[in-house]
Symmetry: D2
Subunit: 365 residues, 4 copies
């Protein structure tokens, strides 16, 4: 059970390290007949890429995707879609001084404990660059979902203790692209930006909350006991680096509610029963209700900070104070948006295929 | 991908419905040579059982487990351990009036959407009785973990907006058994009980938060990208009925912290580097650090309430108001304690075996 | 990876030992809405049962199945179908003298090497009784396949060096029930019976070949590289105790053929292209062609024989000669027929569901 | 369940088409600390490569492997090892005339039935070039097995009805490299070569049998019921293109043997019980005995032949006679040798890791 594969019927296997030769993904289970080109993937990779603003790392990574298999004459063939992004601009030497010093809040320590050795350059596989494979795979999932009318989008709803006001889905979709913080409430975004700048000046970092929404999801996705849709989403989200919490619908707030407040009543709508409210976040008993899926994730502050931190030189076994220099995002949530969308899209594509609402073998027969 | 199996190397498959003949579990991957008897299982099933106090349902279920395979002369043999609990005391007729009326907050609606037909009696497989299989399987996991010095325990830290004060692990272990609410802070427990009683009198219900702790977990459990230990825990927890949120360590609170607050520094302790704090909740980069695993789950208020609720008779497609009578827990978190412990134990046993820290084939060679 | 679960989308988990309390199976992934009763299962269990004639063991096992879950008002609900057969008539004492002496040709030695301890009574889980779970699960698969017009049947084509003549599928179906050897060629059956009787009188046993056929299988089942239909069938068949070889279509004979003989040409039939011959055995490139699936398996002679055999007392580490007494089949292939059919049905049901040719969630929506 | 991943604990995911941009494999589950370089892989890819003699296709493919991840400073890191081979020399135009005409004995027809569309160039993913991923992944498995003293080797034992004489393992290892047919019996090899030449001159092809042997395999690999070692080997072998039969140990011959001949007696050897003979082929009850694993596979004649064959133009739905021109092997078994070795190595590496006889996380802690 090596852990680099995600999904059952629609499945990605990712590979690559921050300062290795390349990073990539193999997407398996794509039904034949889907129009797919590198543009479909590049769009999302560009949104994932840092260097777009003051609030993200100024490194000039330019991640160009190549599709190596599984597409013929513009259509998927049902064969695995292998995609690759070459690494460049890697200044590995900068990591030499901390080769044997685990950075607080980073996976360095755990990798050493587990594997005995590790690629310390840029965090190796535990780097944020690992999400290239997730986003490239997620872009295929998204394309597939679009043919079924499913739309997945995310936005930053909280950053450095500033909370976005409540917005409609239309407002979120329209406004999220208008600032680099990917917060759909412009006034909140302004205040968030101040907090980001304060943190950067202090050599520190701040955390936040991202909300992921999927509209157009039909009722009936998810299995009854263990492969519940919400369980799979929780697994997908908690598995993204820096995520420490996941909630669905009313989430942690439900623990302070009464049953009479929390329960979504049913009403008749165009001759069908549907829930009249969405505290459930689109999922009850692990199965989708037909209403939008609502998920929120807690993202911790960037662990790489330039403030002094206590660590241990594992060669000498002496405690030591370190400052982490280099170009680091002072906050992660804005860059988390396309990654979290990708994970949601991957889970939904998987369940759409296993319930045969899409595919499974072909879209063109 | 049918969803009744959980785990990779240590794996349970559960079955059974609330008002069917029986419920049970097949536990596969138990190493040979573990001492195991029905007593080991019954202890946890008894803690799961309702009817023990005012705060849980007064139904007199008596769930006696039978081990049917995989144990020979008091030791496991490496073969699957099949266990079964017969159902009794099922008053199925009480559910006839709501056969075609989905109960708000319950999975009834989603099951009908997905399967076309459903066993409506007592919620069928979506009933809380489904957790019998989880708890029986979890008891085997727990027994296995105990030989490696791992202890899993849980307590109610919030109920109806009352929060337990901060306690040491020793205090939690010692006090959690002292009241039926399974809250280790006696003062908070008293206030919680008032809230529970208020809710019951009002025909309503309340939610809460359960914290699950595992001590003695070695560093190095979990895979780097997708089968991360925290992702697997999130999956396990979110897959329990009524859970709407999961967090690890600082959890959602981390979104309001600075990096300099959140990062756990490393220090030297008995010639080894270890984290000096546990905001991480025992897991960084998806891999255990060697410190205790800390997880909290948000539990929604019991959906079965006797207050009037709006629903739809799906035969006539007319809206209708329903009152749900019968014996129902006014709050779930106290009963969630053994279930959440079981899910944590299952995840840990799985990862202990796949990293070969226990077994995998035999404890006696 | 514990090995008691088979299948992906239609999946069985079996449990139980020869002289334990019971044996059973959990069938997961059965679409809702299938008519299913204990009769459907019992029919196949009765065919599996020994004691029906001179050529099988005279033990009076009577294996009555109970369905414990997953069926409501005569229809499957999409929930796992758990089934159980209680053990009785177990004379465990007879196995005491060989508790520490591995029987040649049996799994005793390997279990001890792997697990350190083993349930020696009647071979424990390595007994032929283990197939009860396979056959009960296979009966559900068969019922499901029947609604898609797929029929699975098997017959003994070789026993003790006597070969059945070539017969049509209709002749096989009609004649296989006419003798206890399950050979559809009555003349060959007569000679086979002589060989069986000779072997029994000599305290010895004989092997044979079983052919399994599935008609009505649509084109398009199977995955292109690793979960090929023939690979899954090979896995299913080689995993039955006593099977030492598996072949599809022309099988080993193809190694002596020319390409011009082996290749099945394509012709037009009712406006569709189809292969005009079936050397491929219904599968090319791992994917079904639409013609019948043809599989043959080599079954070794019963390892339990009363002739003197050399073994080792593992307590004293001294070599010793043993005679295995008791009631044993002098030949296995006739009893293999329902077991091999079950495994074929399980593979086909799995692939029918994953290609969404049946289900996956429900037959009644 | 998309079918491009193989293995549980040691797992490969392959991708790529005959005339696509590249082919490759992601190997997941490689323990950290294994010395690995491109040379280790290239050796086996070179053995797989055609163009080495008269008996294989004269195309000048030159398949150079690049390792893209998972290796740092010469050692594996526990992260996925991604490898890639670029395609070149692809004359796709030659396949235009048969774009809509399924070639007899090829997967063309089945792919069209399943996917609706297909990459017809050189057979697309169903080409023999697909095995590049298997062989590259198998080379990693082999390197890993070598540290545990396990050696996997194969040879052609039958070709065009000529059978190699019985040889010792030492003779096989020494002689298999001495001719391009990879037959370790030089006299048989000479006659086989005549048959190959006859077939080529006639525009036809011939089949054969390959034997795969693994020495040094410890007792105790394999699971008791469904993930038996022999079942996994059968799955691995039958899943190679052109294989129509698999047998273990005495194989199909056992169906003509008596129990007293087939059963391997146990003897005492250096104070341990071991089987004194190997009709079992190293596996009883699905678990390895500690003796060499012996497997044989039936390989059909190359389906691409230049003799006239009947097929159907699926555009016009008219029957048509085709001749397949181009450079094709007149026989496959010699090239099957490294592929079958790879599949055996993959199964053994997987089971060695899941029983923790190697790794699972690291070789260097």
């Amino acid at each position: 059970m090596p852990g680099n594969t995600f999904g059952a019927s629609f499945r990605i296997t990712t590979w690559g390290e921050s300062h290795g030769k390349a990073l990539g993904v193999v997407v398996d289970g794509v039904p034949a007949g889907l129009e797919l080109s590198e543009n479909d993937i590049q769009k999302d990779l560009d949104r994932r890429r840092p260097g777009q603003s003051d609030v993200s790392t100024p490194r000039s990574e330019y991640d160009t995707v190549e599709i190596l298999s599984g597409v013929f004459e513009g259509l998927t063939t049902g064969m695995p879609v292998s995609m690759l992004v070459w690494n460049r601009n890697a200044d590995s030497g900068a990591y030499d001084p901390i080769r044997n010093i685990p950075r607080p809040g980073h996976a360095d320590f755990c990798y050493s404990e587990k594997y005995g050795i590790r690629d310390h350059r840029g965090g190796g596989r535990s780097s944020g660059r690992e999400t290239i494979g997730r986003v490239a795979g997620g872009a295929v999932a998204r394309k597939l979902l679009s043919i079924a009318g499913i739309d997945v989008f995310a936005h930053v709803i909280e950053l450095g203790n500033i909370r976005s006001k409540k917005l409609t889905y239309e407002e979120i979709r329209a406004n999220v692209v208008k600032n680099h913080l990917r917060c759909a409430d412009p006034k909140a975004a302004e205040k968030m930006l101040e907090r980001v700048n304060d943190a950067r000046l202090a050599g520190d970092s701040i955390g936040g909350i991202v909300e992921i929404i999927a509209t157009g999801v039909p009722a009936g996705l998810g299995e009854p006991v263990f492969e519940k849709l919400d369980a799979d989403i929780a697994c997908a989200m908690m598995g993204i680096g820096a995520v420490k919490g996941v909630e669905i619908g009313a989430g942690f707030e439900c623990s302070r509610m009464k049953g009479s407040q929390m329960n979504d009543p049913f009403v008749v709508n165009t001759e069908k029963a549907i829930p009249d409210n969405n505290n459930a976040g689109g999922i009850i008993g692990g199965i989708s209700t037909g209403l939008p899926i609502i998920c929120r994730i807690a993202v911790k502050p960037t662990p790489s900070i330039s403030k002094l931190q206590r660590s241990v030189d594992t060669n000498t076994m002496k405690e030591i104070d370190i400052e982490i220099h280099g170009r680091h995002d002072p906050t992660i949530p804005p860059r988390m948006v396309p990654v979290a969308e990708s994970m949601m899209a991957l889970v939904l594509a998987d369940h759409m295929i296993r319930t045969a609402k899409i595919g499974p073998d072909s879209l063109v027969k």
